[in-house]
Every structure is written in C-alpha cells, then in structure tokens.
C-alpha cells in the first residue's frame, strides 16, 4: 500500500535505515544505512565477524533489529517473520547449504514454485496434475543447469550442484530481491567461475545482494559494493571507487594484498 503513496521510492527496492542489532550486551550492528536500487548487483564485503551474516538475517527476518527500519518496495519489513518477507518478494540462500536432502532436486525447486503460487494448504489436488507448477519447477531446474539431475535426491548431488540447486530454490519463489550468502564458499576456481556465470544469468532483471569473499567474483559480478566493518558501512560505491578508497584499503583490502 504505502509504496503507492510514495512513487519516488519505487526505484529504491531495499532501504535499510539506521539499523542496530545487539544480542544481550553484544552489539553487532552499529547503525547500518544501505539502499539497493532496482536491478543492481550489490556486494557486501567485510572481514570475518563484521556482521555480514547478521545483516542478511535481519533483512530476511531471521531475527528483528533492535532499532531502525528496513523497507522492501517501500513497505516496512523489520520484525516480520521470514515467510511474510519472502511473500513480499525477497528470497535468500544460506552460507551453509540449506536444502531438502531427502527430496529430489526437482521437488526442492517445486516447493518454491508452490509457495509462489500460494499453494500452501492444498489437500484436494494431486500435485502430479498441477502441470503449470511442475513445468515451472522443471524450467528453473534447467535454468540452474540441473535438468539432468531431475530425479536425483538432493543429498546425493555434488557440493557445487547443491549450491546451484539452492540458487534455483531461491529463484523459485519468484523474488525481485535475492540475497546470496557466500554462494561460492568452498568451491574450486572452475566451480566458482561456473557459479558466478550462473548467478549473472539468473539474476538479470532482479536486484541482488551478495556476501562474497572472493574479490575477483565481487569485482566482475557486481556494479556496487559496500564494505562492512565492525557493524558499520565503511564505504559504498562502484568497484573502482571502492578499490581506490583509502579507508577501505586500510581496513580490509590491505590485509588481502599483504
């Protein structure tokens, strides 16, 4: 509703304003401000413990912020449960592979398609007869190049296939904002290149927020970068700007170069 009354906001898909998060006395987020424009691919860089995963958890609803607000397409989402945020158009993957191991690759994707179609409590139809949903799930499986694995149990897929599958599951709920948490973690160079190409392909026309450690991935895939250090955004800008930024070099890139 509210985003109809604020037309200028529509270009800003995700807005994070002065978000704080503390667990008991432990302060993790110290006032985050971040805006994602429609269609951009935005990377979050930062050393371990900077709060990257916490930021993802706050945006996706895993837990609420202590203070501050988060707007998705102009609507406040802070404090909402994950399923509500997902239905409003935001989907995420996880740092540690998070799939339905005892279901087939196809079924993993189909769960997302079911959710997108609002099929949540349907006890009266055979799922096999829902060809619209099944076709869509198969199309997404092909999109993440797992078409040949359609009947394979997700737990039996190789690690990089599982990561591809998870990207498919993230796509399946039909989001316009996609959060990927270290999608190339633990992958070889070839696998990484493969996944990056895949991400580029499937996120075209969508807004991407990605946590990534691999600099080459970040600089080749993303058009904007934010550097998160110690619970605050140190700098946001185009890749060249970030590369040239003195503070960033000292805080983070310098360590990598050393």
């Amino acid at each position: 509703m509210s985003h109809h009354s604020h037309p200028p906001v529509s270009d800003e898909v995700l807005v994070i304003r002065d978000v704080h998060k503390a667990f008991g006395g432990l302060v993790i987020m110290r006032g985050i401000d971040l805006t994602l424009k429609r269609g951009e691919r935005h990377a979050i860089l930062g050393p371990n413990g900077a709060g990257k995963s916490t930021l993802f958890n706050l945006i996706s609803g895993n837990f609420p912020p202590t203070s501050g607000e988060i707007l998705l397409n102009g609507r406040e989402i802070q404090g909402l449960p994950p399923e509500r945020i997902n239905r409003m158009g935001l989907a995420r993957s996880f740092q540690i592979t998070n799939i339905f191991g005892r279901m087939t690759a196809f079924e993993n994707n189909r769960m997302g398609v079911l959710a997108r179609h609002g099929v949540r409590f349907d006890l009266l139809h055979r799922i096999a007869k829902r060809s619209d949903i099944n076709d869509e799930a198969e199309a997404i499986l092909n999109q993440v190049r797992l078409g040949h694995r359609i009947r394979t149990q997700a737990a039996d897929l190789s690690y990089s296939e599982q990561r591809s599958l998870e990207i498919g599951m993230t796509l399946a709920t039909g989001p316009d904002v996609i959060l990927l948490d270290e999608p190339t973690a633990g992958m070889s160079r070839e696998e990484t290149a493969y996944i990056v190409e895949l991400i580029r392909e499937v996120t075209t026309g969508k807004t991407l927020l990605i946590v990534e450690h691999d600099m080459s991935v970040v600089f080749s895939l993303c058009n904007r970068i934010s550097v998160l250090v110690y619970g605050q955004i140190l700098a946001t800008g185009a890749p060249e700007e970030i590369r040239a930024n003195k503070a960033v070099q000292e805080a983070y890139l310098g360590e990598e170069a050393a």
């Binding site: 399923e83 279901m103 079924e107 769960m111 997302g112 959710a115 409590f121 799922i127 949903i133």
Partner: protein, 422 residues
C-alpha cells in the same frame, strides 16, 4: 503391477477369511485393523512430519469417547446410522488435534514430544474424576443399534464395518502424500528453516498436520469404541501412546505401509504370545530393541531393501545362509524362551512361598522334560542355546554380506582377468 497384485491378494484375504475363523481371531483381526489405522495416522505426524508424539492416546481416546456419547444418544432415540459412528471420532479428533497441535507445535524435538506427553497425561489424570464426560472410573458403555438393515450384533459385522473404515482411511492417508500439502509436510520434516524462507508458515503447517493425524487417530479410537462398546480413562494411558510408537518403529516409519505392517504383526504376535505367557511384553520389548539395533527402518525397511535389490541378488545362493541364520535365530530364541520360562516359574509367588516354607525346589518343566532348578545344567542348556544361536547368526553374517556385495548379472567371463591384456 506387483504392488497392485499384492494389495488385491491382501484385500481378498481380509474379506474372505474371517467368516471361517473363530470369535477370538475375528476380534483380533478387528483389533489389528484398528491398530494399523492408528499407527498410520500416528506416522503421518512422526514419519512424514518429523514430529514424535508421545501422547497420541489422547486423540485416540477422545475419538472413542465421542463415539460412545453418540452411541448413547442413539440409544436415547437420536437418529444416526451406526456404520457412520466413527465420524464423531474424526470430528473430535480433528478439533482436539488442532487445539493440542497449536501448543505442541510451538516447540520442536524433545520439547514437542514432552508437550504431547503432558497433554495425554492430563487427560489420563482428569478422566476418572469427570463423570459426565468420561463416565468416571468405570467409563462409558453403550450398545450398537441396528441400522441400514445391519444388526451389528456379531463380531463379523463389526469386523467388516471396521475393514471398510480402515481401508478408506488408510487410502485417504496415502492420497494425502500425493497432494501439495503432503509434499510440504515432507519438506518441513527435512528442513523447517528452509520452508520458512520459502514463504511457508511452519507453525500453521504443523498444526494442520497434527490435526489430520489426530483426526484419523480419532477414527481408530472410535472404531475401538464401536467394537468394544465401552471405554474408560485407561484409554488415555501411556501404554496406549507408547504402543503405537513401538508398532510404528517395529514396522518402519520411513515407509508408508511400515507402521501398518508393524501394527498388524505386533497385534497378532501379542494375541498368540499373551495366551501362552505373561512375559509377552518382555518378548515385545526384546523384538523392539533388536529391530532398533539391527534394522532401524523396521520390518518394512528390510523387505524394501530386498525388493530394491531383487534383480541383482543371487537368490539361489542366498537361500542356504538365510535358512541357516533363521535356524540359528530359532535356536537362540528357544534358549531365551526356556530361560524366561524358568524365571517365570521360579520367581512366581506361589513357588517362592513353597521354597521359603518347605525349602523345596520343585522341578520346572520345558519341552515335556522336568528340570531341577538347583542343577546348573538346567540354566546352562538355555544359555548354551542362546550362545550357539548368536554364534550361528554371526557366522552367517559374512557369507550373506558377501552375497549382497556380488555385482549384478555380470557374465562369469567378464569378471575374469582378460587373457590378452595390453
């Protein structure tokens, strides 16, 4: 194809056999069908939803009391067909399940189980003091009234009505697995967090799964009430709740028909064994422990394993080791039965009293032979049989494992080294 054939054979047996059986067997088969439905309903929650309820007697019992109240109303002139009585069990089961599920599903794992346990124990404690609803300690009793041209006087009639209800209910539970919600149930079991982040509300989902499981448990309880024409607060007891857990695991919770099989096997087992010995619960417990240790997917899991490998197993060569292992198992079982039998006799109150009074150790009998309990041989023979049986089984494990590892259908020449290797 084979599956359909097996189902038809099972159906034919269940329909055609009972008229030729005695009353005891007819009642046992009715109990078996009810237990099978209860286990299938329980396993919807446990096997498919991943939620282990330790208090499913609650919904079973509430279904039973609902049906008894309806039966009493019919006695007083309310017009309702007797064959549809279990509908009352379904309705009350569903409502109470949704209510209990709302609270229980707020927690996961052990805490979920403890909430279900507490709710059932609550009923068990309240029921004997609640005269109006549960008939106090004596419980409620009623009579089946004739309707639809059926007298409902004989066990056989009750059996056929039960059979129809159980077949339809288990059919519906199977159909459940084919629906979108059925797939969501499995996804929830696999990974609740992922389900949430894909836009599903896990709590609502769990509450509905719980409700449906309780609904069919209520049907089972209702069928029991209809068959027995009575129930008291003991229907809420831990024994009923744990029995269904036991049956489900013995049969195998990972396969749809596993719990049905487990319930059927254990009901018949109990019927046969409890006639012979008071130690039947011990045997049931031993069976449970052995299955958990050596076949965690239950009897159905073992059968499924063989079906999956049927094309590659060298069946002819397996027959020998399987027969020997079975014989060894029989030897060990014989030893165990002797031991338990002696213990039962020697520790019986009357026997202890005679020993205390007269210092007289009367002989114990097994297989028509009298054994002196003070003679070590009496105890060494069964022990030796047990050891012999176990050793026999262990000896057969190697050859059986080897045959299982045999590669499938490879022509003998292919397995030999090539004579002209490059």
């Amino acid at each position: 194809m084979t599956r359909l054939l097996l189902a038809l054979i099972a159906a034919a047996v269940l329909v055609a056999l009972p008229p030729f059986l005695g009353l005891g067997w007819q009642n046992t088969l009715t109990n078996m069908l009810i237990a099978a439905l209860f286990a299938a309903a329980f396993n919807l929650l446990m096997g498919q939803g991943g939620m282990l309820s330790f208090g499913h007697a609650a919904y079973y019992g509430l279904g039973a009391f609902a049906v008894l109240h309806l039966m009493l109303a019919i006695e007083n002139g309310f017009n309702f067909p007797t064959a549809l009585l279990p509908l009352a069990g379904a309705g009350v089961g569903l409502l109470s399940g949704l209510g209990a599920g709302y609270f229980a599903a707020k927690r996961t794992g052990v805490y979920f189980s403890l909430v279900t346990l507490a709710l059932a124990e609550l009923l068990h404690a309240i029921a004997p003091h609640w005269q109006g609803l549960f008939g106090g300690e004596a419980g409620l009793s009623s009579m089946r009234m004739p309707s639809w041209g059926l007298e409902f006087g004989t066990s056989l009639e009750v059996y056929y009505v039960t059979l129809a209800w159980v077949v339809v209910s288990i059919g519906l539970l199977y159909a459940y697995t084919l629906t979108p919600f059925g797939r969501l149930t499995l996804a929830l079991r696999d990974n609740e967090q992922r389900v949430r982040f894909m836009g599903f509300d896990p709590h609502r989902t769990k509450v509905l799964v719980f409700g449906i499981s309780a609904m069919f448990s209520g049907v089972a309880g209702g069928l029991m009430a209809m068959s027995q024409e009575t129930a008291n607060y003991n229907i809420f007891s831990m024994a009923i709740s744990s029995q269904v857990v036991l049956q489900t695991f013995v049969g195998g919770s990972t396969l749809f028909l596993g719990p049905v099989l487990g319930a059927a096997v254990l009901t018949v087992f109990t019927f046969l064994i409890s006639e012979m010995t008071r130690a039947w619960m011990l045997y049931q417990g031993i069976l449970f422990v052995l299955i958990m240790l050596f076949a965690p997917n239950g009897i159905a899991g073992v059968i499924q394993l063989h079906i999956d490998a049927r094309d590659r197993l060298p069946w002819a060569r397996l027959t020998g080791p399987y027969a020997l292992a079975t014989a060894a198992g029989a030897v060990a079982t014989t030893g165990l039965v002797m031991l338990v039998h002696y213990a039962e006799l020697v520790f019986a109150d009357a026997y202890r009293a005679r020993v205390a009074r007269d210092g007289l150790w009367e002989p114990v009998s097994a297989f028509g032979i009298d054994w002196n309990p003070l003679n070590p041989v009496t105890w060494l023979v069964p022990l030796a049989l047990i050891v012999l049986g176990i050793v026999g089984i262990l000896k057969m494990r190697g050859p059986i494992a080897q045959l299982w590892a045999t590669p499938a259908n490879i022509p003998p020449t292919a397995a030999m080294p090539a004579p002209h290797a490059a």
